[in-house]
């Protein structure tokens, strides 16, 4: 079986690019180097959407690509305020077409960041982001902190390739040359590996971060004996570890973005790292979930000026999460049609948003049947990016890589489908 090396895994924000796969009969048969979740993606699943479909009388009818694309274009062109959402599991080349489509339609375009690290972006827009690429952690970091993140479950190869377990130029001993701290509301599998585990009460991270900042800046005397369920001695201990590190890093996840206070939590965490700069070298990095959520934010930023939740109703980009993010327009019942690409909001949005999404005309582009295809009006199957189609993706630290095409596919790529929909929309609007 021919082996393809240096494969870039298209699952999570780690974007591991040292994967090897063996291909036989135009299918990936063996995967090495990937974590359990990445391997599952590369090996694939039996269920694929076999044909484009249009829902008629409550049931799906199979049809041609042409018909489905035309129907999709009709739905979107007729809408007054279409929502184009998802994007994070496809390549940048598709994102570019999606953004142009949103601009032409005067619609709202948003990606999964709005339910993931959108709050991080908002915090960054307040205070900035002292960060680095993952290799800096691998080569320099002697203190690794995971805060509200559980890489053992969500980013399987993160510690081995980039952080605690990895070996680097200045840390040739790997784990032996580093300390691991985990802060979480429960002792996750990642926490079990830590040199220091700090258990915080739910929704109290903000207080703990603020307390740490006070201690770091020399005001330990104002801190009570316990903050957010954490004894003061633990906080003093952690503050000392951070100040004495040669290079510390905080990786943070949904524990900070999805709990109460959201972007305020991140702002405190970033400010803590800025405070630590007075003493030593420190960095902070969000653990991005989907493999190309970062890519969409990058493309959207350089093309529109803003990273997500962009509303083109005025002809130019209007950015205001809280007003223009997907869950905002859904919960206000503002959008009257939706195009979902490379994500599954029916599975991952609150029920209230999903209920409304099911009511409006809905076009879905995806390789696999999922909960959003279940409620769709038009379903268009696409080739799997990173397996059946090549293209660009950005890792969680914004390093761009090119995904490979490993096998051939009978399906059109996301990029091609979107270009054809755009073409039809322009025809309908008399702009072609």
């Amino acid at each position: 079986m021919p082996t393809i090396t240096d494969v870039v895994c298209p699952l999570c924000g780690c974007l591991c690019d040292n994967i090897s796969v063996e291909v036989e009969d135009n299918a990936v048969k063996k995967v090495s180097g990937a974590c359990a979740v990445g391997r599952a993606k590369l090996l694939g699943h039996e269920s694929r959407i076999r044909s484009p479909m249009i829902r008629e009388g409550g049931e799906f009818r199979e049809c041609s690509y042409e018909e489905a694309i035309r129907k999709a274009a009709e739905i979107l062109a007729a809408a007054r305020r279409p929502l184009l959402y998802g994007w994070s599991s496809t390549v940048c080349e598709a994102h570019k077409v999606g953004i142009l489509l949103a601009e032409v339609l005067g619609g709202v375009i948003d990606n999964t960041a709005s339910v993931c690290h959108g709050p991080t972006v908002q915090a960054v827009q307040g205070v900035g982001l002292p960060t680095c690429t993952l290799g800096e952690v691998k080569n320099r970091a002697d203190l690794i902190i995971y805060w509200g993140a559980n890489p053992v479950e969500a980013h399987g190869n993160h510690m081995r390739r980039y952080s605690y377990i990895s070996k680097g130029w200045f840390r040739p001993g790997g784990k032996k040359d580093r300390k691991l701290v985990v802060v979480d509301v429960r002792e996750t599998r990642t926490a079990k590996m830590a040199d220091l585990f700090i258990k915080v009460e739910p929704n109290k991270d903000y207080l703990v971060l603020a307390a740490l900042r006070a201690i770091v800046n020399g005001f330990a005397d104002v801190i009570p004996d316990e903050v957010g369920g954490v004894p003061k001695e633990r906080l003093v201990e952690l503050a000392e570890m951070m100040k004495k590190a040669q290079f510390g890093i905080i990786f943070f996840g949904m524990g900070l973005t999805q709990s109460r206070y959201k972007h305020n939590n991140i702002e405190q965490a970033i400010s803590l790292v800025r405070d630590l700069y007075a003493f030593t070298k420190f960095a902070i990095m969000p653990m991005r979930g989907h493999y190309n959520v970062t890519g969409f934010n990058q493309v959207c930023t350089w093309q529109t000026g803003f990273p997500f939740a962009v509303d083109f109703a005025r002809g130019y980009a209007w950015y205001n999460p809280g007003e223009t993010a997907a869950n905002d327009v859904l919960s206000r019942k503002e959008c009257d049609a939706a195009l979902i690409v490379a994500s599954d909001p029916a599975a991952h949005f609150p029920a209230e948003s999903v209920k409304y999404l099911a009511k409006i005309p809905l076009v879905v582009i995806d390789p696999y049947p999922n909960l959003t295809t279940e409620i769709a009006d038009v379903v268009i199957p696409s080739a799997i990016s990173g397996i059946e189609a090549e293209g660009t993706a950005y890792r969680m630290d914004k390093v761009p890589l090119r995904l490979k095409k490993l096998v051939d596919s009978e399906f059109m790529t996301d990029e091609e489908i979107l270009e054809r929909i755009l073409d039809e929309v322009l025809k309908i609007k008399g702009l072609r």
């Binding site: 699952l11 908002q122 599998r189 999805q258 959201k262 999460p321 919960s331 949005f349």
Partner: protein, 122 residues
Amino acid sequence: MKLITGRTIEQGQNLENKLSEEYQKAVAVCELNEDDMKEIGVSEGENVKVKTQFGEIVVVAKKASANPKGIAFIPMGPWANAVIGGDTHGVGMPQFKGIDAEVEKTSEKVLPVKELMKSLGV
């Protein structure tokens, strides 16, 4: 109790397999602290009903050695989201973690995903 939702390995492995039994087994569960389970009167594998101000959902109870008392964990997915609210408090992000919840033993069945969607009026 406080409800949190999030990723697990099994949930991640079935991202493209959501209409399957494996996905339901991975995601229609609620991880609870042993002492909480005793208080609720439920053993591993039995069903619990989780109620928040946004809704209620029946899932399978699972023992979590790591959860402190008072914390219930449901993997991200449609069962968890049945009890999560859509308001983003002006930020664009709903609150997926740290929700006040009640967990009680129930004899009701766990709805398979298609029925779950129907029951939500979807």
